[in-house]
């Protein structure tokens, strides 16, 4: 394939005319496909349906300690759910609090509490002139939205194939006391799909923060969300590494079963040092009497243990793999060599991150929409929704069927080509 940039104006115009014919054909199909959000597909949800039977009117509703899950109590979660989530997060049970249905909500609350009450006794952030968070980019829009609404200044940190640019991270964290946090999706990162290398994790653990209340917000959303049996990313255990490095309190880990059982009806957890957990619980006890323990019991009775979780996620991987491959194959076949976009093949998680030619992302997303294919808004993967290069597009292949993903991918590459040609013709 000849790279578009090496084509003459005439070549480009000829190609454009042909692509516009294709465009008309696609438009006539009147498709309606949504690749905007990381929503599990119907076949994935079906996998968890038997979970709705394991706790029923004849069930023993007591925890192994004898507490009635139907009544108030167990603010930190029932023991067996703490154990399950601990095993999933690679930490000890005592380091875990199991919460409600949303890890995003725990993250929001963690930031919110820091605003109002500080971190383990530090000055409440709302009393400070400036609070800053580092935001690896492209990243997760809902992380950025939390820091945005609290008026926290967001500093983009470029990501490469190994994680965030750690020279930059160290420079900010170790020198600027206004830097209070960094958002991380360390495994099968949202949206780039890469996992942090051991060196990156170790450099995180060995930071020397200028702010005592600096914390790493380690959203391990896709910790067991592999696409392949034989190619699974593993990352170093950040809590252990922080302890070793003399920074035991420096990290909050978040996870949930939203993309394991049911989005919106899963269970979520925070893991951290005992010191941090103690502080979190002291605040949480004012906020609520406790979380939904029957749902915690339901999860434990269904998955039983970490092996049950992994076996279940193997099935998810099998359902997701063809959808990812439909996109990746189309990108490979249609765009390789054209030099109008780049992407990484992820081994897990929920997204494929596509980098278009600078200045093309918004136009591509708009063109796809015209053809009935909804993508995450261009820019969403950057703080304040502003991608300075207008280049990154997040593709979420999970919700449509594999067949739909194939149709959607064809439309996507068609739009990439058309917008890229227009961009080159402008120059």
């Amino acid at each position: 394939m000849k790279a578009y940039k090496d084509m003459s104006r005439d070549e480009l115009l000829t190609l454009k005319a042909a692509l516009e014919e294709e465009y008309k054909e696609e438009a006539a199909k009147g498709l309606k496909l949504n690749m905007a959000r990381g929503k599990p597909g119907a076949s994935q949800l079906a996998l968890a349906m038997p979970m709705l039977d394991v706790v029923n009117s004849t069930s023993d509703m007591k925890t192994f300690l004898g507490n009635d899950t139907r009544n108030y109590g167990d603010l930190d979660g029932i023991g067996e759910a703490r154990k399950l989530m601990a095993d999933m997060m690679g930490v000890e049970k005592d380091n875990v609090v199991v919460c409600g249905n949303s890890s995003l909500n725990i993250m929001y609350d963690t930031v919110s509490r820091s605003m109002n009450f500080g971190v383990n006794g530090s000055t409440p952030w709302c009393k400070l002139d400036q609070v800053k968070f580092l935001c690896p980019v492209p990243g997760y829009d809902r992380h950025f939205k939390i820091t945005e609404v609290f008026g926290i200044e967001m500093i983009p940190i470029p990501m490469d194939d190994h994680g965030p640019d750690m020279d930059l991270v160290e420079n900010y964290v170790n020198n600027d006391p206004a830097v209070k946090g960094i958002w991380c999706v360390p495994k099968y990162s949202n949206p780039t799909g890469i996992s942090y290398s051991d060196e990156v994790v170790l450099r995180f653990a060995n930071l020397h923060p200028a702010a005592e209340d600096f914390r790493i917000y380690w959203d391990n959303a896709y910790c067991i969300h592999h696409l392949y049996e034989d190619q699974q990313d593993e990352i170093l255990n950040i809590l252990t590494e922080c302890e070793k490095a003399g920074n035991p309190d420096m990290v909050y880990i978040f996870a949930s079963t939203s993309k394991i059982s049911f989005p919106g009806s899963g269970i979520s957890a925070i893991a951290s040092s005992l010191n941090n957990i103690d502080f979190v619980l002291k605040q949480m006890t004012v906020q609520t009497i406790g979380h939904d323990k029957i749902n915690q019991l339901r999860h434990v009775r269904f998955f039983k243990d970490i092996d049950g979780l992994k076996a279940h996620m193997k099935k998810h991987g099998e359902l997701l793999r063809p959808k990812f491959e439909a996109v990746l194959n189309t990108l490979d076949q249609e765009l390789s060599g054209l030099e109008i976009g780049s992407w990484i093949k992820p081994r897990g998680g929920y997204f494929i991150s596509f980098n278009a030619m600078p200045g093309c992302a918004k136009a591509i997303v708009a063109k796809c929409k015209d053809l009935g294919v909804v993508l995450t808004g261009a820019g969403a993967t950057y703080p304040y929704g502003k991608d300075p290069e207008d280049s990154n597009i997040r593709i979420a292949p999970s919700f449509p069927t594999p067949e739909e993903m194939e149709m959607a991918s064809k439309i996507f590459v068609l739009c990439v080509k058309l917008v890229s040609i227009d961009k080159l013709l402008e120059q």
Copy 2:
């Protein structure tokens, strides 16, 4: 019966000696009873067990609008759950957002958001020198704890049989712009058991707050929690009355099914003007992608409608009535005429409020504890846990069995007598 205060020193000492014999007998029994918190009893929880069957692996998981309750979406709750909670709260469906498992959590979040973001565009409270809340006393300790942790100054407002002292309320709210809220449990009040009179509700609705961001925090926790079929309190609809009075945005109403289905596994809701709900949702969308919709569906499928809720609560009333009566009968039989305590007979809710002679509450609670009967800590019903009279004790009869409540009540009146005699002998 002769009032203790009219007894001679010798009479009191003779009585004390007899009571101390009784005390020894009770101590020998080694009882262990908990009347500390408004926890439903096992028989109440059993009523909701069939709810665990109505959503199972063979169920249609779609809402009547066709949304899949198993996936992300419906931030404001599924339509049918909004309708159910709206009917329970006496408002329209569009005025309701159904949230997670805890109305306390909604209240906390509402205060927390006001601290960080203000109320519908007002200055965030964390930027103000002073924020005050009015706290009808005796009241609910967990309300007071929320305002306490946020550093909000709490002003106690005495309660009488009709509600809070409205002269005081009007004086504070209409003149002091630092007064931003008032905590209310308007029906079967926690702990006094009284319901606000129509005049009180109307005076609330017709306040002229000095602060534009003043709100009434109307915790209608016991809205359908009647003890009797033929004697049910009804209160005026505060949202309607506020609208009529030209104060449409002045109230937030909170409720949950914690004491209808399962504490910790119920559903909760906030109701308010469309204006307020819009603001709440704009903030909530940053906090979470949505609440547990499967549990909402479970509630709707089980209760069906407001009539189903009411029928269910009739059964609760039947189970709770003997427990309340065990306490009330014992108080009547053992303390009438002694002038060492007063109480109100509630027609619903979860509590009996007992006012001991000033300076006696802490000692009574401690003495009960020595005999194995745990009560809510004395003072808990006042801001900062400080009852200036050391008089009020909250009795929660729901958790023990009626037989246990009878035993516990006997111990309670015994301790009231002993402590009162000691107090009189001191004088």
